[in-house]
């Protein structure tokens, strides 16, 4: 009875906060601004959920996901770029690429497949390693993609801005992809595949002894995660429309990690909550960072401040609520209410 009340109260509060927040966004920024935020949210959900698919389920932390995002962004953009634009911006492309202009969907799928293939090749050596080595090696992968993107002028314009990408990403297809990723990852989590993966996360030797091929499971998760991340990258590219290799480096990595950890590593719904929290907070902070005046008080611009606050929040979460908002659970609001009553948790970033 009481839980029911709490649940209803919680729902009400959430709905009111969401509605109020949205109204404020629309009033402050207008319809276009609200639409941008909503598309940004959908793309972040794709990215966060796919990071969760690999890191939350296998217990290995990949710092290289943004490399797959970059592959998705560049590959899809090269494929969809209008022919005239291609001749002007990328004059040295090989003929077979220079003469292709694809619709958005096949380009996205191809970009995702390319990323999955790269993940497969990279994963063969990496998935055999233990945790900390995987993190360093995937970070190495991120550095490799960065170096390659910056120097492969023929395909990427090097460190110069890759511009002229058509704005194919709409509210509809972004949220469709977000829904697909959430559905896919949730299904995966409770499939025999997902359970095997989580079993091997919790105890590799025990999992192997009941016949789970740990390396194969990890490799599959890595490839699937790379595919979805690349889709997120493709959506992002056709939303932002101009980017450079620097867009896909440690700042972006940090932002996705923050979303996933705040939500709770291993929980898909947690990731979604984390995305909302981080997106809205960083939007607010970014505006405050430029400096503002409140009546007689003028606060000067302080670039870097928003990231400092984000980092502090992440540290506090890891120290005091290592499970994030949701821990590892998917059970919805009821559990959330209970969790906020009980401080501290063992799930999420648990000890090995």
């Amino acid at each position: 009875m009481k839980a029911n009340m709490d649940k209803r109260k919680m729902l009400m509060i959430l709905a009111i906060v969401a509605l109020a927040g949205f109204t404020v966004f629309v009033i402050v920024g207008g319809k276009d601004y609200a639409e941008r935020i909503l598309i940004g949210l959908a793309i972040s959900i794709v990215l966060a959920v796919s990071l969760n698919l690999f890191s939350g389920f296998t217990g290995l932390f990949s710092l290289g996901q943004v490399g797959f995002m970059a592959i998705g962004a560049y590959a899809s953009s090269i494929l969809t770029l209008p022919l005239a634009m291609k001749a002007a911006n990328l004059p040295d492309l090989p003929v077979w690429l220079a003469s292709i202009e694809m619709p958005f969907l096949p380009a996205t799928l191809l970009a995702g497949s390319l990323a999955a293939c790269v993940a497969f090749l990279v994963g063969i050596p990496l998935m055999r390693l233990i945790g900390p080595y995987v993190s360093v090696a995937t970070m190495g992968f991120l550095v490799i993609t960065q170096v390659v993107l910056t120097n492969a002028d023929t395909f990427t314009r090097g460190s110069r801005t890759f511009a002229g990408v058509s704005g194919h990403t709409t509210l509809l297809n972004a949220w469709l992809w977000a829904a697909i990723s959430v559905y896919f990852v949730l299904r995966m989590k409770y499939s025999s595949f997902g359970r095997a993966m989580r079993a091997s996360r919790d105890n590799v030797i025990a999992a192997q002894s009941i016949g789970i091929d740990v390396v194969r499971q990890r490799l599959l998760a890595f490839c699937a995660s790379a595919f979805l991340t690349a889709v997120g990258g493709a959506l992002w590219a056709h939303f932002i429309r101009a980017f450079s290799p620097k867009s896909f480096y440690f700042t972006q990595t940090f932002s996705v990690i923050t979303m996933v950890v705040i939500g709770g590593l291993g929980s898909v719904r947690g990731s979604i909550l984390g995305v909302f929290f981080v997106t809205i907070l960083s939007e607010v902070l970014r505006n405050l960072e430029r400096g503002f005046s409140l009546g007689p008080v003028t606060v000067p611009s302080m670039y870097g401040a928003s990231q400092v606050i984000m980092a502090l929040i992440l540290i506090l979460i890891i120290v005091f609520r290592p499970g994030g908002m949701m821990g590892e659970s998917e059970t919805s609001l009821e559990a959330l209410v209970k969790r906020f009553r009980k401080a501290g948790t063992k799930a999420g970033l648990k000890k090995e």
Binding site: S55, G59, F61, L63, V122, P125, L126, M127, R128, L129, I130, G131, P132, Y133, S135, V136, A137, M139, G140, F141, V143, I144, V147, V148, T150, N151, V204, Q208, V214, V215, F250, F254, I257, T258, V261, L265, M302, Y303, G304, A305, Q307, V308, M310, A311, L312, L314, I315, I318, V319, P322, L349, K350, K351, E352
Partner: protein, 298 residues
């Protein structure tokens, strides 16, 4: 210049850059050896040390005094980092510690941007650093020789410390088995603090030498060196101090070799090759060259 002289000159370059990587990697290795913490923020201690040196020098202190003070500040920052960010989550699992150190990095770098702005500032280096010494046809910058010399001295001191002093022996014992060390009456907190201080002081030294080499400082300057130090310590075997030193010199040599051997159209990809070699090495020696022989590969 004969071929031999050219080779010698490149060798000196390799050893001097390798020395800096080795000094950085030692700090990473000591902390990883004890806590299994991959400390990203180790690179930012370079930034802290360099800025402290720069500011103190601008405030009127002579360069050498400012540099010594900067190195001390870096050591203090490392100690503070351990107390504030890492001690509360000790034993919380690899991923939590990794992400925490990543957050500390972002925090420090952006704090640097907030306070000092993102633009770089010139680093004052004394004339001793910028002269060129000639042995016959071989021309070497004095900074390279000084880096090699300082590193050699520090490595000797470090070896004496870990083999002869009580704290040093406790440090190795703790790295081998933290629980057993504690049962033997070793004050683990003290040991961990010592590891952080030593690592951070070494990072401070690297900061001064690195800034003098590059000639400027900026808030993100620690990132590139720490990436390289990661490679060095993984190549040598995460957590092994001799491994970190070996890895540092191997990496330095590898970089100079790649620079000399890569055709000019591939030269910009040097760093990518370094990481590819790392990944290939991990395929055959998943624990690095001198890493523990525990079976940690699946």
């Amino acid at each position: 210049m004969t071929q031999l002289e050219y080779l010698l000159q490149q060798l000196i370059n390799a050893v001097s850059i390798g020395s800096l990587y080795a000094l950085m990697a030692i700090g990473l290795a000591m902390v990883f050896g004890i806590l299994r913490l991959i400390n990203f923020a180790h690179g930012d201690l370079i930034m802290v040390g360099s800025y402290a040196t720069l500011l103190l020098n601008m405030a009127g202190l002579p360069f050498w005094v400012a540099a010594a003070a900067g190195i001390v500040v870096s050591g203090g920052a490392g100690l503070l980092m351990e107390r504030v960010a890492y001690r509360p989550i000790r034993g919380a699992g690899d991923v939590a510690m990794l992400l925490n150190s990543f957050a500390v990095t972002i925090f420090l770098e952006n704090l640097g941007i907030m306070v000092f702005r993102a633009t770089s500032r010139p680093f004052p280096s004394p004339a001793v650093f910028s002269s060129v010494i000639e042995f016959g046809a071989i021309r070497v910058s004095s900074l390279s020789l000084i880096s090699i010399l300082i590193t050699a001295i520090l490595l000797i001191l470090l070896t004496l410390f870990v083999t002869k002093t009580e704290t040093g022996i406790s440090l190795r014992a703790t790295a081998q088995d933290l629980v057993a060390a504690r049962l033997m009456g070793i004050n683990v907190n003290k040991v961990i603090s010592a590891a952080f201080i030593i690592g951070s002081v070494l990072a401070g030294v690297v900061g001064v030498l690195w800034s003098a080499r590059v000639g400027k400082v900026d808030p993100l300057m620690g990132f590139q060196p720490v990436l390289k130090a990661f490679v060095a310590s993984v190549v040598g075997g995460l957590g092994s101090i001799p491994g970190a030193i070996l890895g540092g010199y191997i990496l330095g040599t590898m970089e100079i070799l790649l620079q000399g051997l890569l055709p000019s159209n591939l030269a910009p990809y040097r760093d990518a090759f370094v990481f590819v070699i790392l990944i290939v090495l991990l395929l055959f020696r998943p624990n690095g060259i001198l890493g523990s022989t525990d079976k940690e590969k699946i």
